[in-house]
Each structure stands twice: as C-alpha cells, then as structure tokens.
Symmetry: D2
Subunit: 313 residues, 4 copies
Amino acid sequence: MSDAFPHLESVVKEIADEMRQRPDRGEVATYIPELARADAKAFGLVVIDADGNVAAGGDSEVPFSIQSISKVFTLTLALGKIGDRLWRHVGREPSGSPFNSIVQLENERGIPRNPFINAGAIAVTDQILSGHQPREALGEILRFMQFVADDPSITIDEAVAASEQRTGFRNIALANYMKAFCVLDNPADYTLGVYFHHCAIAMSCRQLAMAGRFLVHQGRVAKNGSSVVQAERARRINAIMLMCGHYDGSGEFAYRVGLPGKSGVGGGILAIAPGKASIAVWSPGLDHSGNSHLGRIALETLTKRLGWSIFGA
Amino acid sequence: MSDAFPHLESVVKEIADEMRQRPDRGEVATYIPELARADAKAFGLVVIDADGNVAAGGDSEVPFSIQSISKVFTLTLALGKIGDRLWRHVGREPSGSPFNSIVQLENERGIPRNPFINAGAIAVTDQILSGHQPREALGEILRFMQFVADDPSITIDEAVAASEQRTGFRNIALANYMKAFCVLDNPADYTLGVYFHHCAIAMSCRQLAMAGRFLVHQGRVAKNGSSVVQAERARRINAIMLMCGHYDGSGEFAYRVGLPGKSGVGGGILAIAPGKASIAVWSPGLDHSGNSHLGRIALETLTKRLGWSIFGA
Amino acid sequence: MSDAFPHLESVVKEIADEMRQRPDRGEVATYIPELARADAKAFGLVVIDADGNVAAGGDSEVPFSIQSISKVFTLTLALGKIGDRLWRHVGREPSGSPFNSIVQLENERGIPRNPFINAGAIAVTDQILSGHQPREALGEILRFMQFVADDPSITIDEAVAASEQRTGFRNIALANYMKAFCVLDNPADYTLGVYFHHCAIAMSCRQLAMAGRFLVHQGRVAKNGSSVVQAERARRINAIMLMCGHYDGSGEFAYRVGLPGKSGVGGGILAIAPGKASIAVWSPGLDHSGNSHLGRIALETLTKRLGWSIFGA
Amino acid sequence: MSDAFPHLESVVKEIADEMRQRPDRGEVATYIPELARADAKAFGLVVIDADGNVAAGGDSEVPFSIQSISKVFTLTLALGKIGDRLWRHVGREPSGSPFNSIVQLENERGIPRNPFINAGAIAVTDQILSGHQPREALGEILRFMQFVADDPSITIDEAVAASEQRTGFRNIALANYMKAFCVLDNPADYTLGVYFHHCAIAMSCRQLAMAGRFLVHQGRVAKNGSSVVQAERARRINAIMLMCGHYDGSGEFAYRVGLPGKSGVGGGILAIAPGKASIAVWSPGLDHSGNSHLGRIALETLTKRLGWSIFGA
C-alpha cells in the first residue's frame, strides 16, 4: 500500500471498473490484421508510485503491441549513444497536423520536427543503427527495454513486425524522403527493418509502467536506484513527451490530463507524473487523433482524483 | 524573504547580473518604430513566490509593450465570459511552424490552431467583443489586467497601438480569412482595433508577475486569495501556455525551461511555476523564433538553480 | 456568311440547340444573391470570324456578369501602361490547385502565380490604379472595354459590385497578405474597390466576342484594323489564357477544347482561335472547377466540328 | 529544301551559330556523374517539317540522355494500352511549384497532377508494366521509341539508369507514397526499375525530332504515313505538353515559345508545331526551372522567325 497516496489502489480499481462499463470505446486500428484482432473491450491500468508500490486494475498483465510508445525508449537510447548530436537529425518542436509531416520535411530540409512523429522516430532509429547490423541494433533496443522494465521476458511480436513491413509504404516514403536530404545514414530498408521491429515489441501495462520509472525519478529506476540517464535528460524527455507524445492530440492530452505521455496505435499510453508515479494504460479503441480513447479518459480521471497534473495541484 | 525558497532574492539578483554581462542579446523587433526604440541592454526579472514575496532584479520597474503576453489574459477573460463555447472558434493544439498559420486556416475551415497564434488571439478577442462596442471591450480587458495585477495604473501605449494598426496587414488578412469561414462574429476592423490595443498594453516585470499569480495558485490571486478562475481552468491555461506559448520555439522552451510561459515580441515573458511562483522577465532582443533571447536563458538558469521544472524536480 | 467557314452559322445554331436540350447544367454560383438569380436554362453563343462575320445562337444578347473574364482586359491594360514591369508584381505560371493560392503567396514572397487567379488580378488592378483615384481607374477600365468591344453602352452592375464588396472577405485577406509583402502599392480598399467593380461589368455574348477580337488578329481589332496591342503581346496574353484561364480546370480546358480561354463565375467564357475567331459563350451553371459546364462542352463541340484546336487541325 | 518554309535550313544554321556564341549556358545537372560529364558547350538543333525535310544545326547527331522527354512516349504508349482508364491514376492539370508535388499527393489522395511530373510519370510507367515483367515492359517502351523514330539503333544508357537507381531516393519516396494510396499496382521497385531505365534512353536531336513527328501530323508519322495514335489523342498529348511540359517553367515556355514541348534534365527539349514541324534541341546547361537554357532561347528565336507560335502567327 502506498504511503504517499493511500487510496491509490482503490482509485485504480474504481477507474478500471468505470472504464469497463463505458459504451464508448473508439475504433480499433485496422491497418494490419494483427492489430485489428485486438479485443475492443480490453482495458488495463497499472500505476507504480514513487515508493515502488504497484496498483493494477483490469487486464494489466495482457501483452499488447506498444507501437509508438517504443519511441520514448529509442529516443533515450539514442541520446545515450550520441548525445545532443542527435538534434542534427531531428527537431523537438510539435508538428501541428499529421498533414504536415511530409510538407514540413520538404520545407525544413528533411529534418523531422520531433522524435515522436514517424519520420522523427525513423531518424532516431537510424542513429541507433549506425555502425551495427540491424539485428544487433534491434537486440540492443530490446535489451534496453528489458533492463528498464527489469523483465527479460519482453519480446517482439514478429507477426506484427512482418505485417508492418509489408504495408508500411508511407514509412518507406518518409525514410527515402529523408535519404534524399541526407538525413539518414544507413540504407532505408535496414533502418526501417529495425523501426518496424521495435514498434512491434509486446508488453503488458505492468511491464510498461515498470519501464517508465526512470522518467519519474530524475533518470533513476527508483528513488535511490541505479541511473539510466541524467536528471536533466529525464526532464527533457518528459518535456518532449508532453509536447509531442500524442500526435495531433498532444494539446488535448496536455489540456485534459496534464502529464507527459506517449501513446501507440495499439491502444497503450505511458504517462509520467514526475516525482510521483509511472502509469501505463491500455484500451485498443482509438479516438480520431489515433490515441486510446478510454486510455485518455482514464488518465484524465486519475490525475483529477489524485491531483497529479503538472500544471497545478 | 521567502521561507520556501530562502535564496530566491540572491538567485534573482545573480541572474540579473549575469544577464547584464552577456554580449549575446538577440535582435530587437523593428517592424514598428516604437518597438525598435527599445534599449537592447535592458533586462528585468521579477519573481513572486507562493507566499507573495517579491524578488526583483535589473530593470524591474520599467514598463514595456507586453504584446502577445496579453493573449493569456484575453483567453482567461473569454473563457470566463462564454466558457467552453470558445473552443468552437479556436483550437488548442500547437501549430507547428509559423508557415502553417495561414495554411492551417485553409485546411481547417478557418479555425485557428490555438489562442496564442495571432489568428487564434484575434478569434478570442472577437468573442470578448461580441455585443459590445470596441471601446467597451477594450476597457473590460484593461480593467481585468489592472484587477489581476492589483494595479490601476496600467495603461495602453496608444502610439504602439496606432503603429500596429497602420502596418498590421498580415493580421488584417488573417481576420478577413476567418471572416470568410464565418469564424469571426464582428466586423474585422472592430475586432482588430481591440486586438491591436490590448497587445499595446505597457507593463513592468513587477506588474506582469503580479498579474500572473492566479495561474500559480489554482486560479486564486494568492494562496487564500480571491478567485479569478476555477482551479481546473487555471491548470488548463497553464497547459496551453506550455504547448503554444512561444510560437515555433514552444518545444525549445519546454525542453530548456520546463515551465508554462508566454512571450511577446516586446521582449517580455511571463512564466508560471505552478504552486511555486509567478515570474516575469524582460529583455528586448529576440531569438530567431521571436522570443526574448536573454529572457529564455534567464528562465532556464532560474528553473535549474531552484529545481522548478514541472518535468521533474 | 463566312467565306472561310461557310457552315459557321449553322454550326453555331446547332450547338445552341443541342445545349438547350441537355439536362446537365452544373450549379449556378450562389455566393451573392445577384449571381444566384441567374436563369440556369440560359445559353448564349456568339462567334465572330476573321472576316468579322458574326454567328449567334441562343441568348446571345442577354447581358451577364463577366466576372473574371474582365481580368483578360485589365491584364492587357496594365501591360499597356507599365509593360514588363508588371511581372515584378505577378507571375505567369499556372497555380495548381485553388488550395495553393494563399500557400503560394506565403512561399513566394507575396507574388501571385498569375494574373488570372484572384490575388494576381488584384495585383494587376493595383498597377492600373497607381497614381489615380479609384473612380478614374475604373473609368479607364470601362472605357477600354467599350473601345475594344466597339460599344459605349457597356456598363457596370452596381448591385453586383456592392454585393461582392460586402462579402469578399477572402479577397480582402489576399490583398492585405500582398500588402504585408509590399506587393501592392495602393491602399487595399482602393484596389479592391476597383477590382470588385471591374468584375461586375455586364456584357452579352455578342459584346464579349467583339471585345476579344484583338486577340485573334495579332493585337488588331480586325485583320487590318487599328492596333490595341503589339502582335507579340497578343500572343502572350493568349498563352496566359491557355495556361491559367480556367482556375484548376485549365488543364482540362486545354485538353478538351484546345483554345486559349478565360471563364468567369457568372458562367461566361471568352475563347480565342488565333487567326480564326473570337468566341463568347454563356451558361450560368458551373462545374466543380467553377467554369461554365455547358459553356465548356459547347466550345469542345465547336472546336471539334470546325477543326479549330491550336494543338492540331 | 522545304517548300513551305524555304529558309528553314538557313534559319536553323543561323540559330545554331548564334547559340554557340552565347556566353550564358545555364548549369549542367550534377546529381549523377553521368549527366555532370556532359559538355556545357554542346548545342544541337533539328527541325523536320511537314514534308519530311530535315534541317540540322550544331551537334545534331550526338546522343544525349533524354530523361523526362521519354514521358511523352510512355504517356502515348499507356493511353494506347488502357485508354482513358489511365486518368484514374494520374490527372492532367499543371502542378504549380515543384514544392507541391508531394503536398498535392497528400491532398489529392495520391493521384499525381499530371503525367509529366515525376510522380505522374511513375504512375504511367506502372500502368505500362501491369501484367508484365519489368524487362518486357522496358523492351516494349524501347521498341515503341525505335518505331516512332524509325531507328532500331536507339538504346538505353545502362550507366545512367544504374546511377539514377542508386540515388533516386525522392522518386522511391514518391512511388511508395502512391503505394500507400493504392495508386500503383506493381511493386514499387519494379515500377521504378522500368522508370529509371526509360529515362536513360539516349538519343540524338535527329532521332528525337523523328520520334516527335506523329504529334505534328494528327497522330501519323508523316502527312499520309501510318497512324501511331488517333488525331484527337495526338492533339490532347500536345495540350498536356503545353500545360505541363516544363516543370515550374511551363508558363514561361508557353509565354515565350508558344509551342507544346517537353524538356529533360539532360538538356534536351522536344517541341511540336502542329501541322508544321517536329523540333528537337539540345544544350546541357539548365535554367533555374531545370529546363535547357539555350534550348528554350533557340526555340523562342525559331518560332519568332518562322511565325510558328500556336497563339497567333
């Protein structure tokens, strides 16, 4: 039981119950069959507080495709490898509408706006890949995820990766567009191979909340735990999550939830209450911006009840 | 002397001294002569903490043209008048590049992306104006500013307003573009008249920091002071400031400073450390995104030294 | 009776009859009530051949609002006044989609792509205006039209002009956008006043076909008639008409009709068969690109039957 | 000696001489080494009149890389194979600025604006490929070119094709972007393989002028020669050449030269004077729109001296 937040467990259970009963669920992503098969009724929520207490509700142990949430971890890894040189290949400004991604590549010399839009995440992956074989780079990403989540059982869903690779024409276009501007260093199909695979990592809410802890504790896995990144870097990753973590719904998420977060089209969201908790939620139905519909509502409810908004307790 | 932050006063003095000695000052805005005349060497900083202690450094009493910072207050006022109906006329997503403002009006049925880009602030002003004469609406805005700053001496610089009105072709274009989509309710020149005038309000750092207090204290002017807006609304205004407060440099400001803030081309920035302090800084030289160059650096230094980033203490 | 085209009169009558019987008529422009009142069943066609023979069919004597067709004549007039200096204020490339007009102003320093999109025509009008009062400039345009049409009875429909002026927010936006880039020399409302009025000139098909003759005869009103412009200039105006004369349907018009032409939202089209004939057609129903639906079909039929395409007899 | 144009041969020689002496030559394309090696001083001009007389000047027998000029022939071939169904995959409107190509794909559901911008030519090639192996499709294109030029010696420059394929990231991006919208039927690398190879066809001015004859004679290779396409189709291909044949310089070419034409970055231009002549010119230096600088000037001079503009003799 959490000392700092004595009712945490009951709040989490309550929210999981409320969410299960809501009829509005958004639309499950259908662009690949593996995602389309997800159960629209699934809902999971896990909160790990500053003392390491775990409060879980709903389908908290069911693995799902984390998709774009992996971009938080590849960003962390790439910054660890090459530091601020990363910013020569990708910006850190919000991107406006999805419409803009390719227009802004054209206008801004092939440099994607931030590490969380597809083009930007591909550019980040390309930097992790440099000097390695795709298989090695992918191994490094997976091992990093297992390390921060403290769970060696995390794996990649190969069927999802293969499906993405078969149908990812828009990502192939983005990668080659960046190649035309010399923003990528490696062959586009190498970089995309790694990218499609790390987006296909499967994790449960519990595993994901574990993986997010270093962003709660100024870069450490726990209050006095081992350091993953420096405090300043953890803060800055949180800042980028807040600004750019929910596609064209980032403003809406900041406005309603008030926490740094990153969503994926698999229906997961990782949210960070700095100094307070790491939170993972999952519900496959998406809103019109491509973010988990119930996931966002659950997080809005949670931050309100616990007073966790970074914009004023 | 501040109890919560015992060294606040000395930190503020130190930063003011450091900033005065820096040779890099950015470029003073020159599009109207009244702004071009500003002293590039000026620098002021005022922090008012949660207990109401005031720490001031540099040119803290010199009035300057607050320009776009006024948009925080017109947003607050408009939300108070018509509540969430405001969001029919303006969005709350970051806007990407300045390039996008007019493109996105075209793509998004004339609805500006957020209340802090020019088009959005014009749409907000239009809602304050509705049912009133321009002079009345302007009086209401000015009185609101005097009220939140607790200072009836705040005035509008008529020369600045007149200059803006003479040369504001781009804003006239934006307003008429929105008229074409029926997003504005009033004659464009009425709305623009009010808009140009509220951007021309002149305030010192001290007055501005005073005016920002209600965003620190969940909508109250002081810890147990009178309420300006509800707590949730204050949080949400802070969220919009973080996402959209610095034009195309909003991501950079979040990344480096980690506080909600709003800048103006007059060189001022209002920043809010929720629960901790209201901060106003002024230095007329601008960076390439149009935000005060030294102002941003001073705020970055301040939040680092005091551990005030909302992304992790 | 025409010597060069002995069947011209019967071809014109036939086409007028065929067009009257077609059920498909497009949509009459409704953005101002004066245009919305036009009779969707109206159809007129006049061809004046190289020898000055006039073949008329349908409602050939009914005046209609020529709207954008006036831009051919303001272009001619502006080139006469300031020659190639005009091209500092406007380009002569096709503009792609209507979507682009404002985007390209942004991208291309406020210089409109060509004299036939609204922004470009406003820039041309601004050059005619320079040094004059709006009333004088408008008088000059009207007198030029009366001269080339050899008909002093042509007038401006003041009700149309007033309506356009009341609702022309998009044009006001375009004009002010160009002002922001210093592309216009005169006050925007002066230039727009002249612009809205010359678009409101009312002419019949017969008058319009008369007015187009100088583009048939290398700049002369008839084979050996008086010269309006030099031969090279007449050719070049024809070239611009072909490239840019039908908004986003210019490619379609060139592909199907194969003649330089200029349409207006009043449902009129002026088409030129160089060396052969000046043609005016009118039917108020518009296609999705804003060009007269039956007008275009009539011209396609006419050029096929007479072998008048400039792309191969 | 030409009967219709008795001075044709001397005019061609004169122009070739004048061009050789001009110091302004534009910039040779350098994006692949094979093109960069072209002699900036080279100039060739061949005119074949309606009677089949050939007038040649300068380097009229030197083969060069025809690049985008091949798109005229793939368009002709694709229309012959699937007729107007082609227009489901590509439009026929001018494209505005090069900037627009990818933006308009985004805005217009992946349908390229016309068959002469890269995306459009790739879509056309994709339709020729359908049901065939790349090698077969390429063979068909080459044989068609040999047939219309009446010259079985025309070949593909494999070094150019290989170089394009290695560096053509932007084209790979465009093709995959269209794949994302289901506009292409075949694997992108198959389609691009054929595309890069037909752009690498090498021809002399004489061969190219021969190949263009069917566009002069309403679809026949000579006045009473065998038919390549129907008369209407030949006219329409000419129309598309006029509207879209010179990238963002199409308006300029129509304005100055007044003939349908298609240029390539190898420095060649094929121009058609309907009913009068097929013209090929070559000079490797390009203007800022990517069209042969001297080639355009030579054609402007030629049409003026011979009165061949389609916009008025």
